[in-house]
Amino acid sequence: MNQTDPDTDAPAKADAFGAESEIAARLKAEALIVDVDGFEGPLDLLLTLSRTQKVDLRKISVLQLAEQYLQFIERAKSLRIELAADYLVMAAWMAYLKSRLLLPPDPEDEGPSGEELAAHLAFQLERLEAMRRAAARLMARDQLGRDFFARGIPEAVTATRKVKYTATVLDLMQAYANVRTRDDFEPLAFKRDSIFTMEQALERMKTLIGHAMEWSELSQFLPEGWTQDPKRRRSAMAASFAASLELAKLGQVELRQDEMFAPIMLRRRGAANGQ
């Protein structure tokens, strides 16, 4: 920025000094580039660059800033430093802003003028800077547990014992997310909780069959909670049917179906002749 002009008749001393400061400037610029991972995006980088103008942020030259930014990007490219896409998007926009600031406004062109865009960018930089200062002031305040302290022995006494259940709003949201996205997360897992196994059905039928003196529909043997959801109902029905076949094989029940697709009926074997 403020390099000495090699053509001027400057004294040797100043020359040496100029060369030194040039090196320093270059080192600084390279340090910035090496630092690129340390920046939190293009706006952060722009803020850092704008500080090199050494003026009040409200008086910043956005045109100069655009040039600084574009130079930075060029140098980073020539040093083959990987830049995230948003830095390049910003570079394209900076180039656009620069052209809008330099060219006379096109009366045909609608939308914001170069000055309006520049003003907003300056506002953004000032606001970010202000929030950073505010954050620093906030963190510099006296803090609980560091500078001032709460009661060390809170007293919680007495007879009325009450259980209080707690949950945070985060628990609540995560629980909901859990329920709603359960399907997404278990694409390959078998939904065990929707499967009624034959072992379970056999167990259940064996205890119920004692009461089945009369013919009753197989569907009446489905466990509670397995009759509404079609998937669960199907699983419970299949398991109960298989279990009833097993029981028939063991000679414990009789099965009957009056016609095709009619309900399957069953009763305890020997129920008809009163045991």
Binding site: D44, V89, A134, L138, F149
Partner: protein, 218 residues
């Protein structure tokens, strides 16, 4: 009417003298590590007590002491005087070191609240990294505010009483420098003119989707 009058007389009659009320509030607040709201205090006082007046007396009594009565939002708590912090090395709690991003996000929420995620991103120029809001909520320094009444009805974030307590603030209005910032227009929500690049995070909610409740309940 008669019975109202009777009830009023009774409560006037029942309420302990103010000095006694002050003692009671003192005991209640001393016993609790957390700030207690005026309502919580009142609920525990005998009928007819004036918690507000008792608190005012108490606050005065503890002025300049090693322990002070401080106001936190609409709640009250005893806290040690900050100038004596050096004596309490043993009690010091090592808090999680917050990242710069987390600190800035917290400050933006405090100064701009209620604020949407998109607005935080616009101010910082980067997207809010995963886990930042999560962590601040976990620390109970921020919570959800009302949804913004703009298209998409985005959720907003605000700071909590625990935040105020932690930083020794009576209310968000007492944040350092907030008035200057407001006067300088730096807390305005100034929409970017037309085409600005990607750092101006378009709220994903504002835009197309008619109503995210819709999507939420699919």
């Amino acid at each position: 009417m008669d019975s109202d009058l009777a009830a009023e007389n009774e409560t006037l009659f029942d309420a302990p003298p103010m000095a006694e009320q002050e003692r009671m509030v003192e005991a209640i607040l001393f016993a609790s590590a957390e700030p207690l709201s005026m309502r919580e205090i009142s609920e525990r006082l005998p009928h007819g007590c004036d918690a507000a007046e008792a608190l005012a007396h108490l606050r005065k009594r503890y002025e300049g002491r090693g322990v002070r009565l401080v106001k936190v939002g609409d709640a009250w708590a005893f806290r040690t005087a900050p100038d004596l912090g050096f004596l309490m090395q043993k009690e010091r709690i090592e808090t999680r070191k917050l990242s710069r991003a987390a600190i800035e996000t917290l400050a933006i929420i405090a100064y701009h609240q209620p604020v949407t995620r998109a607005e935080i991103e616009e101010i910082r120029g980067v997207s809010v990294s995963r886990g930042t809001l999560d962590m601040l909520m976990d620390m109970e320094w921020i919570r959800l505010g009302r949804r913004r009444m703009t298209p998409g009805r985005p959720v907003t974030f605000v700071v909590t009483q625990a935040f105020l307590d932690h930083f020794g603030l009576e209310s968000p209005r007492d944040l350092p420098g907030i008035r200057e910032l407001r006067e300088a227009g730096l807390l305005d929500n100034r929409p970017p003119p037309g085409a600005m690049p990607g750092i101006i995070a378009d709220d994903p909610d504002e835009g197309g989707a008619p109503d995210d409740q819709e999507e939420m309940f699919e």
